[in-house]
Symmetry: none
Subunit: 530 residues, 2 copies
Amino acid sequence: MSDKRVYLYDSTLRDGAQTQGVDFSATDKAAIAQSLDLLGIDYIEGGWPGANPTDDAFFGNPPTLHRAKLAAFGMTRRAGRSADNDPGLAPVVSSGADVITLVGKSWDFQCTVALGVDLDENLRMIGDSIRHATTKAKEVIYDAEHFFDGYKGNPDYALKCLKAAHDNGARWVVLCDTNGGTLPDEVERIVAAVTKVVPGSHVGIHCHNDTENAVANSLAAVRAGARQIQGTLNGLGERCGNANLISLIPSLVLKMGYETGLSASDMTRLTQVSRELDERLNRAPLRNAAYVGEAAFAHKGGLHVSAVEKDPKCYEHIAPELVGNHRKILVSDQAGRSNFVARFREIGLDIDPKDPRIAGMMDEVKQREFSGYSYDGAEASFELLARSYLGEVPEYYRLSSFRVIDERRWNARGDLITLSEATVKVSLRDATQMAVAEGNGPVNALDAALRKVLLPVYPELQDLKLVDYKVRILTPEAATAAVTRVLIESADRRGNTWTTVGVSGNVIDASYNALRDAIVYKLFRDGASV
Amino acid sequence: MSDKRVYLYDSTLRDGAQTQGVDFSATDKAAIAQSLDLLGIDYIEGGWPGANPTDDAFFGNPPTLHRAKLAAFGMTRRAGRSADNDPGLAPVVSSGADVITLVGKSWDFQCTVALGVDLDENLRMIGDSIRHATTKAKEVIYDAEHFFDGYKGNPDYALKCLKAAHDNGARWVVLCDTNGGTLPDEVERIVAAVTKVVPGSHVGIHCHNDTENAVANSLAAVRAGARQIQGTLNGLGERCGNANLISLIPSLVLKMGYETGLSASDMTRLTQVSRELDERLNRAPLRNAAYVGEAAFAHKGGLHVSAVEKDPKCYEHIAPELVGNHRKILVSDQAGRSNFVARFREIGLDIDPKDPRIAGMMDEVKQREFSGYSYDGAEASFELLARSYLGEVPEYYRLSSFRVIDERRWNARGDLITLSEATVKVSLRDATQMAVAEGNGPVNALDAALRKVLLPVYPELQDLKLVDYKVRILTPEAATAAVTRVLIESADRRGNTWTTVGVSGNVIDASYNALRDAIVYKLFRDGASV
């Protein structure tokens, strides 16, 4: 095996599950494991057998993996017990997983203060547990908790802990920066010292992001000789999270020349794998995530854009396609003609750069931006504006009027309640229709009333969900005459999301404008017939 | 000056303003500059005079700074022009800022491909522009765009560019990793090479986060001798953002032993400064942000909590108070009491830490926070809640009911208009009164109707202005059943501002709750008599 081969160990399902607000089901875990397997990760840590019902269910019915090894996590035996008669260790070693990863102490302070365990007994706990596990699994890994703090406090003892694991058959000793406080230069220095005792091909690194250095620390460890990296998808994990595998893999492979289990074709799936996890967690992907974020290859200024069109390496550190991402040209009031044309091309609008209508469109956009519109975060509204200008968007419906009533009063049960009710009058296929609906707020009521009228004609709207709603006052200094900008994010069941914008002196009017674009964009994309 | 002094240069208002979706007004910029000044940042880059109306307005009426120097950003002169007759350079050098920062090329490829400029002429463009700027400002900084790519491609030419700036009077040459693709070990190696040509005390670093290494890169540069770091609050910036000053300052000061302009007491404001910026941008603070995130010192239970209670350093890499954050125990609320007492003291509420009412107040706050309230950015609402619990806040008025009607229709002149009209029913000094008013939105109408009733009794309200209104959906996954949080910022003529919060399933209801607190707080502060 090449000296450049680095093994990737994913802990999304174990350490990642410690994230505040994250609560994986056994089904979630199986699906994520399969996604990691398909990606080409070497080790997938599934959880801690015996610790909770979800992990028991997962290991009771483990997913079929084709490339990765499944790892079960546990802790070294308790003090004063034998390893084969330890109730905590038993479910771990008998879980049937290919790999057993056992965490143990390596910091003398931690042994004496947190555990109250004799330092020599701790060495025996490590050795016994590892030796016992090697009789039950193909491969055993020792996770050295608090290794860096331990090394800084007492290097001899910390190294003895690693030796105890290594000498008793651990395939890997993994150095954990448990508190996340170690900086890259310290990591590099300490890992280099470790590799004099345990060969680097048997040393792993496990970092946390408490100083925003988890990725740099992991890469520093590899430079110093470590050949296993532990991390999680999107840096999930308690406190500030674990090392983000999605960010560190491309640097490792594309920039530092290391090999992993991922082929070049696997690498192009990184963006998708990252976003799928957010989808599962029902949270918006980080726009500015390294490599895979929606904004990672976005260009705003006019100068940047014309330079990127001349040669992408002027403003792109890698080709976005290598990680499955793509270039994005933003529209803003700084935009020159080259931005516009590039942006049109991106939305699939095939227009001759010399088309005289471009100047008119630019005027329209600039005028709207002057009045408070911003198409930076509202690509769907931009596309509708451009296509409408070219006469491509039909009039799916025409709103004649609406009225919304919000009322706060005491109800019959003596509770103070607030009700919103909307009435809309709409022209649709040459008929005028009215509808009324309630909602938990004026915009929600408007949405509900509009759907009542539109759904029978456009069943596509059944599959339209409003997922976020944001309001911003643009001219706070104008106080009551302020202009309001509303952004609405919508989604459909196929996982498409799009953002629309509305601007008005009246927040309800601005909201309606954004809502209208959300609906029209959905109908246009689906090719609804008028 | 000590060799350990590192100067901090903030570019939130210039490079940070390039972030997708960020759109600072001149008022925003002034407020952020003052916050940075108060924090102890050395240089504040305000923008690019002449580039857009916002930056012109900002430099036309710059905020008063007490500790920081204000910097104006611009570009070296064009090819074939003289520096004192360059229309781009003129507004920058005549902006009146203490410091002028000029960006120029240092990459031969960039000169020939993007600019089509002769390499020798580029050196003259740098030298001439810097020399010209030194006659107009106290200090001049050269930003070497694409420096690392340039150095890797042609080290001699890249260093010549720096020399041209340094020899012509630049106080600093700043090495920009414009594409963000350079890794920490490369940064360290290249900065070390630069300091052989320009002394480290004149070298700065400007990193982008495209590989999630911007913080590590900045720290690596300092280790190699650089003594200025450029970055932004919360890592704002285009694509994946700039180096996050909020993350790197604590590592620099608390772990690496460097000195900055921040005193130990300034350091405790980092968490607040970070969250204030997010509040201004109307976005949720990152829970897992290094050092300042809500989860940065959160402990989820069991072993970790008991270990932390024995000795915090078992699971905390620094004491959270050093950066103004606090420990959060997710399963037990024993840690909360001292935090509460500290918050009371902060608002001037003098209460015995052993007062039995504290437990009740804590329950009330926790219950409200559970339902979506957040008092982090809404100190006025927190103060009212606490003082109301202690019976200190009189009932200035009682709202019986309100009704708001928003109507979009065609007016007599044939224009499409949206009108909002509110009716309120209020008990006041034992009489019930009704009033109706119009506004440019439902909340504005409600505010107007309330004032009609309240003003004759409380003339203090004449001097109450709503300056900002923000809406955030807290549970986007709940779609139409989402909980909404509204923040209202108010001001009076004496320059006091205060923020209040309202939460409800109905946005109008949430808005009213925040509005009520804004009014009551004003009356309470002014000692209005009931």
